[in-house]
Amino acid sequence: MRHLSIRNLTARPGRTIALGLLIVFLSMALFGGSVMVRSLNGGLASLEARLGADVIVVPSSAKSSTNLDYLFLQGTTGYYYMDTEKAQKIAQTEGVERASFQIFMASLRASCCSMPVQVIGIDQDTDFTIQPWIEESFGRRLGDLDVLVGSKVNAGIGESIRIYNTDCPVVGRLAATGTTLDTGVFCTVDTVRLLLHAASELGHDLKISGDPENVVSAVYLKVKDGVDVQSVADRVNVYVRKVEAVRTRSYITGIADSLGGVEKTIRTLIVCVWILAFLILMAAFTMLTGERKKEFAVLRVIGMSRGKLAWVLLKESLLLSLFGGVIGIVLGGALTFSFQGLIEEALSLPFLMPGVSELLLLAIMTLVVVMLVGPMSSAVSAWKLSRVDIGRILREGI
């Protein structure tokens, strides 16, 4: 009698598989959905942490060559240039505490990647946006031609990336950010200038007006405490010609709003799936209990108490929930992990998978919820079962 629930489940594999599949689907939806919501939140938090600048200034031409929303949303850069004189003028704007510039360039088709890679040159002496992130993974200064690669560029330390016929040794890999910065290649400003020369020697038109030694792509500003960020951005827009100064915070808020919408949709879908599955499970258990009335009546006749009978049914649903839940979590995890690149591409939002400990916590929480919902859906049937009239069932055969 101790293993009656297990025997009941193994004796009717068709019924067990059908109910189990429903629970697998439930836990897959809950676990996969939760991981996605956490990843979107993680991506936004990571983007927020990386954007250490209050104001970003780009040449006005950047507006036509790249989508500025996308520049802030994903950290994607483009290639556009302005004179260093302008950068110096911007840095001297009233209210600016720190200023640093970067140079961007897109390779044609780097040897590594069969597609253009974004090369970002940083000024190591003044940089305060990317340097803290680089220091997490790479503790020293970059030399000439040394490059650091984002987490999604599969080039190992010691290998080289060939950009415009120039071999650049990879000296480090950076931690994942969940943004397109993960596909970037980072180096010093001098290295980018060398690469710009190499490109022009190969005859590529990079649309640089003037001397490559004398250009920058973007200026990042940190505003002094107590100074209104918008007023600094306005001042730059008024006093420096042909540039576009944008507050990063307003973009972050915009992203957070759109992310909130996506998150709400995912949560609503999960709740709908759960309500539907709970109702289906309840109906399935009620129907199955109805079919098994005779079996339960016989068990009552041979001396099983009402409570024990209800416990047998609850134990069956508990076992189903446990196995279905574990399989669902494994499948949900495998699918989400395997296709995270595709999900990220489809959502076009910062997407950073949670760490192992958080994933384990999510898995445990999913299992707990599944193991509560499964027995809850069979509780009504178990209660009804304990109230049946055995004599009538056996006499009338219903």
Binding site: R109, C112, C113, S114, M115, V117, S151, K152, V153, N154, A155, T180, D182, T183, A334, L335, S338, F339, G341, L342, E344, E345
Partner: protein, 137 residues
């Protein structure tokens, strides 16, 4: 009439899905000029191994001898493991993880390989258990 085993049919179906997938959605990265990316070697290797697995799966359906069936199951299990390791371990993929071979080809091949390996393993355990039952008799 010869008995058709559901497990054999399922294994052949998974191999067929993998092969059809490789020639449709699970293709390697393509450059603008029509040439294939460096992930093409992994794709070619997987096509070859999946093809061998499919042929073996079809052959298994016609054999009744337990030893031959066990041998075929072991080879199919090994083929599934090789298919799993082909993209990224035996052959390098393109270096940008946002590229098609990383986002679609590799996960697709790996999920189908796990299915094939799981089925082959279950089949193998079933064949081994039959052997034990025969010995006990």
């Amino acid at each position: 009439m010869k008995k058709v085993r559901a497990m054999d049919v399922t294994k052949v179906l998974v191999c067929a899905v993998l092969l059809v997938g490789l020639f449709t959605v699970l293709h390697p990265c393509l450059h603008e000029d029509g040439t294939k990316g460096m992930c093409a070697s992994a794709w070619t290797g997987t096509v070859a191994v999946a093809g061998i697995a499919a042929v073996l799966g079809i052959l298994e359906m016609f054999f009744e001898n337990r030893k031959i069936r066990t041998l075929i199951s072991v080879i199919m299990l090994a083929a599934a493991v090789v298919c799993f390791l082909m993209p990224g371990v035996f052959f390098r993929l393109c270096m940008m993880e946002t590229m098609y071979c990383h986002t679609v080809m590799k996960p697709g091949i790996r999920i189908l390989s796990v299915c094939l390996a799981g089925l082959s393993l279950v089949n193998l355990i079933g064949l081994m258990r039959k052997k034990d039952v025969h010995r006990k008799k």
